[in-house]
Amino acid sequence: MKLSTNYIVRVLATGFVVLILLSIPLFWARLLCNVGLYLWMPYEIKSAAIEPSGLLPDNLENDPNIERHSRVSAKMEIEPLLPIGIIEYFESTSPGQSRSCLILSSSEKDWAYFDNKSGQFVFRYVETKIMPDSDKLKREVQYYIGPEGISELPDKTLGRFIEPIADNSEFKTSLWKSSKIILYDKKLRHFFAINLKDRNITKGPQLSEDDTHRPIDIGILNKNDDILDLYWMPPTINNQSIYSRKLRIHITERDPGYRPDRYILVLDKSGRIDLLDKETLEFAGPAGRLPTPATLFPTYKNATPDDLLAYRVLPVALKEDHKYRGLFAATVNWEGTALALAVFDANGVPIKSDQTWTSVRRGNRRTHSSRAVLFGFPGAPAITIGKFLLENLHPPILFLASYFTAGSFEAASGHRALFLLPNSFVAMKGRDARENIAARFLYALLLMSPSIVLAILLALRVSKDAAIVGLSRKTRRWWLFGTITFGLVGYITYRLTRPKITLVTCANCGKPRRPDTDICHRCGSKWDVPELIPPAWRVLNG
């Protein structure tokens, strides 16, 4: 049987259909395993805390009346349905999120968005003016904002933003109409400050090409904040926090009163956090960096925002002077199995840190949560093995590709991956930067071995069956290669596209042979056509 184009197209089409229809149930089965692991994850390995928090003046923290020092704590609240793309789709299109051009939508009359077509921001809101007779005059206004200015009408002379990101921290309160909104354009490499009250825009100096700063977020720095809680508790006296005693209020960005005097936080693509001077629109120095949470196969490189499933940054200032005092940063690793918490002082120097560990020590060692969640509690090893075996049902070629592309995905999108598996054990090994490349690859091959063994077994089965069916040597070789490469998908595809021919017994070798070929595909003999010899008997009439 020769390989016809028609046959190849049919096989490829069937293979693709099988790949999709097999990848979906495998995805749900892996998700079920993850849900099991997350749901039974003990509380102790979900949270980390630092006490005293380290950012308060000594006179406050060491007050003899203090019953409990200030404390910063972070907790992972991994949602079992985190990978569900439909939820992420609607969340990402809400104001200020990754896929949305909308930066504000506080009411039907107050909204703002970036118009990609004109390259300008459009702000529409109700403006209140106090008249000389103290009456309030309200009117709906709409402003068009470009890098060169603000206008009430669309105007090309306002210029074009290309890829702007906006500080959305100002939109938390109704004061945004009278405060400065900071922007950064990734392509123009300028910071801008929009002043709606005075209707002007200030442009900061351009970042030079050799400048290493690559800002990706401004103001409130967080990602997937619904799965990561970061709390700061002030010191307490008689079970009452200093908040309620109204001595001094220590405030974080979540408090309505938080108005940083001069600086705003800027997150860099590398994971570094910088301070930006709101007046000069220039960097004022480092503020810290996103801490690197441990993973099953640890990596020494610093975590970038893309490597993290979630992060949250909380700056602290004292209300009395609004002076920036430092920040707390918490991060969740790629797989959602470990958390890191760090405290940085006003100069960006790390002063304290913590990770998620088990409380039980084995000898002198504690187990890190990224390992404990997989093996450290009853039932976890069984689920982990189940997850590992499910991963190994995936086509070996895609499994191998997952290893090589492990670091090129964004962590949250990796949880929704269907064909490449950035969350698999093999991909985790691919992100492990400790060992040399060869050792790492061999380890990955070891992790892939069940998948490879299964693929070889299925390929042998296919090859044997293809020989029985009478496929040509070339076709058999392609099927062998295809099944080793695609494993279970290749095998199912073969079963679905296998020629449906009823075989007959060969008169020469006695094995089943194809009736549509001149020679037997097993022994090569021709059809044994018996000579037509007339019978010796006759039927005679009467």
Partner: protein, 210 residues
Amino acid sequence: MLTLIKREIRDHELFFIGSVILSAVLIGLSIATLDGHYWIELVTFDSPAGAIVLPIIIFGFFAMGAVQMNTDRIRKISAFISILSVSRNRILLAKIIAGLLAILIALVPLAVTVTILLRIHAPPIPIFYVMVLEIFSGTFLITLACYFIGLQAGWNSGRPIPAIVGLALTCILATLILIKGFTPEIIVILSLFIVASLIRTWHLFMSTPL
């Protein structure tokens, strides 16, 4: 060709009537949803109706595909038409065009209504129109993909197992929307799936003796 399509529509008029009724109900629902609600709810289909309607559309068109092929095999319609000067390619094409028309009847009026409602009630923010386009193209493609599964499942006449397997595969494929959302990624995956299914359906239809 037009005659073949007309015949397909006449033979499966129940599905076309169903599409029209569904479309009318959905339009009514979207108008009712808007009344007294914030405009963003219109785009995000923030109502329980959305969760009920999508499975109805998906399984309805799976059934249409299965019934189209099953009727053809049981009544030997293709065998009869093939006697005339009509190729089997055209017969299959007419079936697919009829299916496509039914899907479009169910979805396009709703998409147009939502766009008009947004134009009337919502601010002129481009993201809403992008969302409407993404949601309707995603729904259209998943429905079409399930329709093709129906075509393949229905060809095996008289046997319940292929139909049950087809239904199970439709359930599996429908969850792709949950996994990927209405992102461009799903458009690519479903488009490729539809092309692959079309090839399989064509081969199935052309190679099986009438």
